[in-house]
């Protein structure tokens, strides 16, 4: 589940022109870059940051949905939600592993997250207030994530691309289960339908923000695109998402909370698309910078899990050391 590309990655690099040109030639030839290959420092740094942010997004993303595992209103939904949140943990794990091939450890990345130094997708700083939020997150947030993630399966860095292939395969059920929840609510009682509309009202704009700032304001897009770490621009993906999602909302009988939304024949190179109203970027930056409703609680929850678990991790290491020593003594 992902995330506005990257926030504040520094792709600057100090290698010779010849080295950079040779590297770019490999990228242009669609060659995958593997961990031990020579690569520009900026490329490595950008990837560590992006994969790290992506991994953190998965891990923090377990919390808002995890908030409803214990209250899921049927056993079928409970099992599906638990499996979904578990998958997100798995996706975080695959991504940390991909970043680790670049010489950074999971513990280091975790410390950065807990210290508030690492970013993650701002969407997870919004609270889940009703069961319909679980449907909406699956439908919109996972839908946006899939838009972002499918192109990443072709990312130039091998381990990241491989992790993404696995993730995309597993995620295909996430959006469907979300939409199915919405469909059931919208075919249900008045109260259920109102719950669904309320959730869409609250999650629509944050979902659009997931794609990140407009291309004109996205500072590192160009270098990331050239290196094929990123393959579509924020605005391209956002438009694709809107065009796919608006008809789905119609089918549900729900109204997208954007009075300015209208069909525009001129969009998408004349193929037509939905033109959206202005996005509140002040809100976006405020949440990114730590002033969302849940920012502090999210980090506090991760911190608590990490600190409460320290004695367990220590004990496992201590036991492994004892066992190894006993084995040596026995030989």
């Amino acid at each position: 589940m992902y995330s506005q590309g990257l926030i504040g990655a520094d792709g600057r690099t100090g290698e010779t022109e010849a080295f950079l040109a040779a590297f770019q030639a490999r990228i242009d030839a669609e060659e995958k870059i593997e961990p031990k290959d020579a690569m520009p420092e900026g490329y490595r740094r950008t990837l560590v940051r992006q994969i790290g942010q992506h991994a953190h997004s998965e891990i923090v993303g377990m919390l808002p949905e995890g908030n409803w595992i214990t209250r899921a209103p049927s056993l079928k939904r409970k099992a599906a939600l638990l499996a979904k949140v578990q998958d997100e943990g798995g996706h975080g794990l695959y991504l940390y592993s991909a970043a680790e091939t670049l010489g950074v450890t999971r513990d280091e990345m975790t410390e950065e997250l807990l210290a508030g130094k690492a970013k993650y997708s701002s969407i997870f700083n919004y609270p889940t207030l009703t069961w319909a939020d679980i449907g909406t997150i699956g439908w919109l947030v996972d839908g946006a994530a899939i838009m972002n993630q499918i192109p990443l399966c072709r990312c130039s860095f091998g381990p990241y691309a491989r992790a993404m292939i696995r993730i995309c395969k597993e995620e295909s059920f996430h959006q469907r289960q979300g939409y199915e929840i919405m469909l059931t609510l919208c075919r249900g009682t008045e109260a259920q339908k109102a719950m669904a509309q309320d959730a869409l009202d609250r999650w629509w704009w944050p979902s659009l923000m997931m794609f990140g700032p407009h291309d004109a304001e996205s500072s590192h897009t160009e270098q990331s695109m050239a290196w094929k770490i990123k393959r579509f621009s924020n605005d391209e993906l956002r438009q694709k998402f809107i065009d796919a999602t608006v008809p789905q909302a119609d089918y549900l009988g729900l109204k997208v909370p954007d009075p300015a939304m209208r069909w525009d024949e001129a969009l998408n190179g004349g193929k037509g698309g939905y033109r959206h109203g202005a996005i509140d970027w002040d809100e976006f930056w405020r949440v990114v910078k730590g002033e969302g409703v849940m920012n502090r609680d999210r980090i506090a929850a991760r911190k608590k899990a990490w600190e409460d678990g320290a004695w367990v991790r220590e004990a496992a290491l201590a036991h492994a050391a004892k066992r190894a020593a006993r084995k040596v003594a026995a030989e």
């Binding site: 214990t70 259920q192 678990g309 004892k322």
Partner: protein, 246 residues
Amino acid sequence: MHEALLEIADDCLVLGHRLSEWCGHAPMLEEDLALPNMALDLIGVARGLYARAGEIEGKGRGEDDLAYFRGEREFRNCLLVERPNGDFAATMLRQLYFGAFMEPFWRAAAASTDDVVRGIAGKAAKEVAYHIRHAGEWVIRLGDGTEESAARMAHAVEAHHRYSGELFESSRAARAAEAAGVLPRRSEMRAEWDRVIGMVFVEAGLTVPEGVFMQTGGRAGLHGEDLGHMLAEMQSVARAHPGAVW
């Protein structure tokens, strides 16, 4: 008969729910995946048993009616599974205690006279064998890890052992199911349970407590205070919208 199945279904649902509370808060990411796997196994078994219990009862109650619209006095789970998670040591010990009982129970239930129970038993026996393996390895590591982990593990044993006796008790409903060959006799699992726990405890450096007064009551709906809170949370959405489809 359906009440005997409800007892086991409630055990599995309540413990599965408890484990699901860990998701996103485990000591390491690998455990964030391991704990839900066990929870999903248990919830799956509960669903199968609820469906069968509802069918036998014949009042048209399905899995969700049974899970979401019975109160704490109607829940028939044993006291062990409703204990709050506590720390990771307590959670793993509770899992080991329950698993070490259920594994031989499901193996024996593979000979049930009820087709559905037989089917569930075959699958559940394999699942729970893994739960024993996973929880057992953790009990060993924590028991024989650091000073702190050993103290926490010993505390977990002290806190939970008193709930182990109830596992081997058969309620009146269970005795009827046992007499009909639907379920195995609970008391017959004792030797295997003692063997598994003994084996793990030796490696973990733990002592099986003796002379502990064994608490009981769950099968009669006489629970501790924690179950009511768990059910209040679990059932809140479903109960706010009676009759709704999800």
